[in-house]
């Protein structure tokens, strides 16, 4: 019986049951309240509907929380229960093998019985898995029904004429809204905790000093975990990107806010926004298809020039310059739109003053507007840097995989993000230093971008206060 229960799709069933229970509880609460209104002398404090909502809230919420908990933790719990029961023969399995075995079991459990008829041990484990899963599901369901009934009983007993149902319901709503806002904080906490947790496990196997200052990175063979080449690659590519994005973005912003007419603005701004809306994987493909070969061809041509030594440029088919250039273009709109905003926020009176002194437009921009807008511009550049550091797809596709420290922009180079993708794509085992190093790199990435973001946001905030 429990086995068949394990195959029932839970989500829709639970959703339908909750909706039905909610409706029923609402009707019950309303009817009770109307009964009270008819029989008692005193007027109801709240509308009968609010009594209904109150009862429904108390009925649905505990059950829903239980079911949500089951949806999130159910499969993990089933697996650890099963793992505790596995016979001794499985002791020789390492974690990855065990995980793969359990994956197979959980997949087989959703299939027809005939699929796993051939292996008696596997069949027995799968059978047991299904029983555990079904039992947990049934248990949660019964518990949820009990919780719902308890909530119903609690809520209906509180209903009376003087009961402030609306107030209670509104408090519940406010609590729910707060919980939603707290999810954002929980996400950050989740990121920090999970990255920190895995990083600590990594640093228990590889010394922190070797990671931060080692010059050799070769995670695939699990020998060298010196991340300096990755930091260097990230730095070089971000530098190239900023060399493109900052001047172009800044001049574009200045032109748009100080020179362009309304019609030109109406055309150019959406064009720049399109640049920001294109998915990075498309930029990556473009870099791979057009820019990287062009860089390679130019490098080969430069190598052929008489005054340049042969093979001065590596002329690799994936290279730092291509990735950096395309990333720079991708970042242009981030610099330009934020700078545009801060430049527009500079009060017109400052410009008028400069014009009245006889300054030309460019002199006004350079000597009056830009100094006033500087903090905001710096903030936009910092945000752009943070985006460049964290950008993944362009570098994965166009920058290459070879960790090396070289000043040659046409050489293959690798970054933090490329390595994270390379280490975590495919089947990964969560215990090996190879996989864990990805989390250590992720932690560095998170910390780096966080610093840039915090500084930038603080600068923006300070600056806004000045002119408001």
């Amino acid at each position: 019986m429990l086995e068949t229960f394990s195959q029932i799709p839970m989500a829709w069933l639970a959703f339908a049951a909750l909706a039905a229970a909610g409706c029923a509880a609402f009707l019950a609460g309303r009817t009770i309240a109307m009964g009270i209104a008819r029989t008692s002398e005193a007027q109801l404090n709240s509308q009968p509907n609010y009594h209904g909502y109150y009862v429904a809230m108390w009925t649905v919420t505990p059950a829903a929380l239980l079911l949500l908990g089951h949806a999130l933790f159910g499969s993990g719990l089933t697996r650890s229960l099963l793992m505790a029961e596995l016979p001794d023969g499985f002791a020789s399995f390492d974690r990855l093998q065990l995980a793969q075995y359990l994956d197979r079991v959980s997949e087989a459990a959703t299939l027809d019985r005939s699929v796993w008829a051939g292996e008696p041990l596997f069949a027995a484990v799968t059978e047991r898995y299904m029983i555990l899963k079904g039992g947990l599901k049934l248990g949660t369901f019964l518990l949820a029904i009990l919780a719902g009934l308890a909530g119903l009983a609690f809520a209906t007993r509180r209903l009376q004429a003087s009961f402030r149902a609306r107030h209670e319901v509104e408090r519940g709503i406010q609590l729910a809204l707060f919980a939603c806002a707290a999810i954002a904080v929980a996400t950050t906490a989740g990121i920090v905790v999970s990255l920190l947790f895995e990083s600590i496990r990594f640093f228990s196997q590889v010394p922190l000093f070797d990671f931060l200052f080692g010059l050799h990175w070769n995670a695939q063979t699990e020998e060298h975990f010196g991340a300096i080449p990755l930091f260097f690659g990230t730095f070089i590519i971000s530098l190239i990107a900023m060399c493109v994005a900052v001047p172009v973005g800044l001049y574009a912003a200045i032109y748009l806010s100080e020179y362009a007419g309304a019609r030109a603005r109406a055309w150019i701004k959406p064009m720049l926004e399109i640049l920001a809306g294109i998915p990075t994987v498309v930029y990556g493909f473009f870099a791979l298809l057009v820019i990287a070969p062009a860089v390679r061809t130019s490098a080969v041509w430069l190598n052929g020039l008489p005054f340049i030594p042969d093979e001065f440029f590596a002329a690799s088919s994936t290279n730092a310059l291509a990735a950096g250039l395309v990333m720079g273009v991708m970042i242009i709109p981030f610099v330009s739109s934020l700078s545009d905003d801060v430049i527009n926020a500079v009060p017109q009176s400052l410009r008028d003053g400069a014009f009245a002194m006889g300054a030309t437009r460019s002199e006004t921009v350079k000597q009056v507007v830009m100094p006033a807008a500087l903090p905001g511009v710096i903030a936009s550049v910092l945000l752009a840097v943070s985006r460049a550091i964290g950008e993944t797809m362009i570098v994965v596709m166009a920058a290459g995989l070879r960790p090396q420290i070289t000043a040659d922009p046409t050489a293959e180079i690798t970054t933090i993000t490329v390595q994270i993708v390379a280490l975590l794509t495919g089947d990964s085992e969560f215990d090996s230093p190879k996989t864990l190093s990805a989390f250590a790199l992720g932690f560095v990435l998170f910390a780096l971008t966080l610093v840039f973001n915090l500084v930038a946001l603080r600068v923006v905030q300070k600056y806004r206060e000045k002119y408001d």
Binding site: S75, G76, V169, E170, I173, L177, F178, C180, A182, I183, A184, V185, T187, T188, I191, S194, L195, F197, E198, Y251, A252, Y255, I268, M271, L272, G277, I278, P279, T280, V281, V282, F285, F286, L289, V290, M357, G358, A359, T360, R361, S362, E363, V365, R387, I389, G390, E391, T392, V396, M397, I420, T425, G426, A438, F439, L445, F446, T449, L454, L457
Partner: protein
């Protein structure tokens, strides 16, 4: 300017020094303006280059060449379990491929001479390309015993060749060939040679050969080209040395004697045979098929209706689209309600205190966290800790939902802020509670703005790739997923995967998939713009 102020004494506007200074200042002004224009043109040109280069690649993927076959559907090959089992017919790929091979062998008897050559001719059609035939036949089992006409995709390399993407070519029409005679060498094992007698002694061909040598010599690939002479479905290849007297040819396909008369043509393929994936003989066969009217270019619907495959000519984006839809569904279910609720709390309810400040700073920061970090979160928490299924749209949607959440919150807060306080005051004044005010008045008025922001956030999530790579959605998925917990891949991930494909034909396919993705994003953004235009209200 500072100089102007500090320089003492009377300054007349027409004194030469002042005029030259003015000129300089005006030049600086024009330069500055020009820099701005250059910056904007650079960005827009780049955008144009990107769209044009991807668009032109994609165009070639939206059409493909199909070969027509007339296959005798004998029961023992096609329906191994008899006519009562359509499923066996549908899965009988090897049977149908055998029929295709037999047809090719009938058309090109010379291909049977050596096993290598048989393999060469069989490579004209990929084995898996017969799947649609098998499916079609399984639905019409009454066709058994008849000879039916089928069309199937030509191999990707030859398709690219016909689209002119493999090598540059010089095509010339020749003067009439008067006679074609076979020369037998003394050594009977040597391949036969053909001597052609042309009306103009191949003057035009020799011209073209000289041009071809010049062209390839520049590239440093001397002698690196092939020459095919064609008349109807009969083709021969020029044997080196290309300047011999007389020119000698070897037969490729058809009957060499039939080269005489008619309108012969020659094509010089400016890339050595060793440097391309298609042999001269395969090209000759393809051209012969084309001459027989058996190769036609048609719209490549397979790209939209097929799922992923290891062969570019039959790979399509359907499974990825469905995977992306499931992912987006979960993302929307997470990000939009939670985002709106969080925005309502922060804008309407939150007291000014440290907790609120913390949440605000947090959301602004979260919006700028690199997307790959969310992928790490998904791998560590959803996959490792919660043991949710790998490669599933459910997990992808959860991760992208958390990623989109701050964007939705920020957009929703901006929309809520545009609702004037007078509305709230009026509702409160009429006795509504805070919550009634918010849900009955503020939220409906802000809804269009919130929805616009949400759609734009979803469009961005649709293009996200990196986090999905980390939670295993990069797996090869050849079947359309049936639900959010099935193995699936997403459109941007498919683009990434295809772009890493070794064969050249993946390039146009990738570009076409990008076009599909961009179409979805443009539609979503257009809906957002429409909503904004239609419902935007100025207070």
């Amino acid at each position: 300017m500072t100089k102007l102020i500090s320089s003492p004494g009377p300054s007349r506007f027409d004194d030469p020094e002042a005029l030259s200074r003015l000129k300089k200042r005006h030049a600086a002004e024009r330069r500055f303006r020009l820099y701005g224009q250059l910056a904007i043109s650079f960005a827009i040109l780049f955008l144009g280059l990107l769209i044009v280069s991807i668009g032109s690649q994609a165009v070639s993927a939206f059409s493909h060449h199909q070969v027509t076959f007339h296959l005798p559907l004998n029961e023992e090959t096609v329906a191994p379990n008899g006519p009562g089992d359509p499923e066996a017919v549908e899965e009988n790929i090897s049977g149908f491929y055998q029929l295709v091979r037999e047809d090719l062998a009938r058309t090109f008897p010379e291909a049977g001479e050596t096993p290598a050559r048989t393999r060469e001719v069989n490579a004209l059609v990929t084995r898996l390309a017969v799947i649609p035939m098998a499916r079609e036949t399984s639905e019409h089992l009454d066709w058994l015993g008849e000879t039916r006409r089928y069309r199937t995709a030509l191999s990707d390399d030859l398709d690219l060749y016909l689209k002119g993407a493999v090598a540059d070519e010089i095509e010339i029409s020749l003067a009439e060939i008067l006679r074609a005679e076979q020369i037998r060498a003394e050594d009977s094992d040597a391949p036969p040679r053909i001597r052609l007698t042309s009306a103009d002694e191949f003057a035009s061909l020799r011209d073209a050969l000289a041009r071809a040598s010049a062209l390839t010599a520049d590239r440093g690939e001397a002698g690196g080209f092939s020459v095919l002479v064609q008349n109807g479905a009969n083709l021969v290849r020029l044997l080196p040395p290309y300047d011999s007297q007389p020119l000698l040819f070897e037969p490729m396909t058809g009957t060499p004697a039939n080269l005489a008369g008619g309108k012969p043509e020659a094509r010089i393929i400016l890339l050595p045979e060793s440097a391309r994936n298609v042999t001269d003989r395969q090209i000759a066969w393809t051209l012969a098929l084309q001459e027989q009217g058996r190769i036609r270019s048609s719209l490549n619907w397979a790209l939209l209706t097929n799922s992923d495959s290891t062969y570019p000519e039959i790979a399509g984006v359907l499974a990825a689209i469905v995977g992306s839809l499931f992912t987006m569904f979960v993302t929307a279910a997470i990000a939009i309600p939670i985002g709106i609720c969080a925005a309502l709390y922060l804008e309407e309810y939150a007291p000014k205190n440290r907790v609120t400040d913390l949440i605000e700073v947090n959301i602004n920061n979260l919006a700028a966290v690199p997307s790959i970090v969310f992928g790490l979160l998904g791998a560590a928490v959803f996959l490792n800790f919660l043991a949710l299924p790998r490669s599933a749209p459910l997990v992808g949607g959860l991760v992208l939902g958390l990623l989109t959440l701050p964007t939705v919150i920020i957009a929703a807060r901006a929309a809520l802020r545009t609702v004037p306080p007078s509305i709230r005051a009026a509702a409160l004044g009429l006795g509504a509670s805070k919550t009634q005010t918010v849900f009955h008045h503020v939220l409906p008025l802000a809804a269009p703005g919130i929805l616009t922001g949400a759609i734009i956030g979803m469009a961005r999530a649709l293009g996200e790739t990196a986090p999905l790579l980390l939670i295993g959605m990069v797996a090869f998925v050849a079947e359309v997923p049936g639900g959010p917990t099935d193995e699936a891949t997403a459109l941007p991930v498919l683009i990434y995967k295809w772009s890493t494909g070794a064969e050249r034909a993946w390039e146009p396919n990738t570009a076409a998939a990008i076009l599909v993705l961009l179409t979805f994003m443009v539609v979503m953004n257009a809906v957002a713009v429409f909503l904004r235009r239609r419902f935007e209200r100025r207070w």
